[in-house]
């Protein structure tokens, strides 16, 4: 089936540094999402993105977070500067439409902030 890829699979950085998480969504999908999952807990919505713009973001999407998809390439989540509480697994998802259209999830990037 369709696959979403995420690079890297793991990232360890020092607090205060910048990190960029990359997502290669399903090729014909139009809607893109980031979710955050702290180990063993539920996934929580961060942000969604359509037509080059952020459509909705949650309270977890702090000012230090930003997303973009330059020239239809990777959909990225940048955190600058990082904080200890940013340690989590970040899942990217994409969908063709909205409503009950299936969101396809990537395998996640495990971010550890030291």
């Amino acid at each position: 089936g369709p696959k979403v890829l995420q690079i890297p699979s793991h990232q360890i950085i020092d607090m205060g540094q910048m990190v960029t998480l990359n997502c290669d969504p399903v090729s014909n999908h139009l809607y893109f999402y980031w979710y955050k999952q702290i180990l063993g807990q539920q996934m929580e919505f961060l942000v969604n993105f359509y037509n080059g713009k952020v459509m909705e973001k949650s309270k977890l999407f702090k000012d230090q977070f930003s997303v973009e998809r330059p020239d239809g390439s990777y959909f990225t989540l940048k955190i600058q500067p990082t904080a200890l509480e940013d340690s989590a697994v970040y899942f990217c998802a994409s969908s063709y439409g909205t409503g009950d259209d299936e969101q396809y999830f990537g395998p996640g990037t495990r971010l550890t902030v030291l």
């Binding site: 979403v4 809607y31 999402y33 979710y35 063993g40 807990q41 539920q42 996934m43 929580e44 919505f45 969604n48 359509y50 459509m55 909705e56 949650s58 899942f91 969908s95 909205t98 409503g99 009950d100 299936e102 969101q103 999830f105 990537g106 395998p107 996640g108």
Partner: protein, 112 residues
């Protein structure tokens, strides 16, 4: 506010037994879709079932669920669990918009 509630955090069963994972919700929206996602260890969540039609049973891979708007529920059931069913199960809803709101998840462990 809108929410999805899963009452069981951990469920442990012996292979071959039936399972029911509870999911209830609270929302002011009438036009909503509900999902069950399954997440195996160190893998991405995958869609297991979805429904937006009241009182219609949906089935996939031996699991089934029926959306009951009268009781605000979308419970997941299977008549006979297998070892490979061990995973984290999330109930979720889109609540009429593009983001998905997940429940806290139920960790299902199947023993031989």
């Amino acid at each position: 506010g809108d929410s999805v509630t899963q009452t069981e955090g951990l469920v442990t069963l012996t292979e071959g037994l039936p399972v029911k994972l509870n999911c209830t919700y609270q929302t002011a929206y009438s036009d909503v879709a509900f999902f069950w996602y399954v997440q195996h260890l160190n893998e991405a969540p995958k869609l297991l079932l979805r429904s937006s039609t009241d009182n219609k049973r949906t089935e996939h891979q031996g699991f089934h669920a029926t959306l009951h708007k009268s009781s605000s529920s979308f419970h997941l059931q299977k008549s006979s669990v297998q070892l490979s069913d061990s995973a984290l199960y999330f109930c979720a809803s889109n609540y009429g918009n593009e983001k998905i709101t997940f429940g806290a998840g139920t960790k299902l462990t199947i023993k031989p």
